[in-house]
Assembly symmetry: C2
Homo-oligomer: 79 residues x 2
């Protein structure tokens, strides 16, 4: 089962990568950009077809490794 995990910085946490991209877009002439935030998208292929189990596993992976929950939030989607 394919699980998509999106990890992004919490609101209010400074996002230097996003700021750099915003600045670069500005320099390239894209003037209509109000904000840019950059996060990670992690695509997991799990050896289970049970939706609940896949979700539980993915949540545990996020809490222990994939996300830094002090400064990051995450969402889990099953595909």
């Amino acid at each position: 089962m394919k699980v998509t995990v999106n990890v992004f910085l919490k609101d209010g946490v400074l996002d230097p990568q996003g700021k750099a991209a915003h600045h670069a877009l500005d320099s390239l002439g894209f003037k209509g950009v109000a904000d840019v935030r950059i996060g990670k998208q992690i695509i997991l292929q799990l050896n289970t077809d049970d939706e609940d189990e896949a979700k539980t596993q993915a949540k545990e992976m996020c809490e222990t490794l994939l996300a830094n929950t002090v400064i990051e939030d995450y969402t889990i989607e099953l595909n």
Copy 2:
């Protein structure tokens, strides 16, 4: 208008970040993982309410800055 851009390595391109995460998950005892791929999720806030214009702008940004189209693919979603 909020535009979500997902940038990920093309199939067949080696993903060392994903490999490292896979290995780390294995070491932590998550044995049911077949594959891990890691990409970027870029959330753009554009100063336009026109869907076509937003999509065109986002595509141009991907082609010129956000994605390395030699090794990366991207998808654009309007929210």
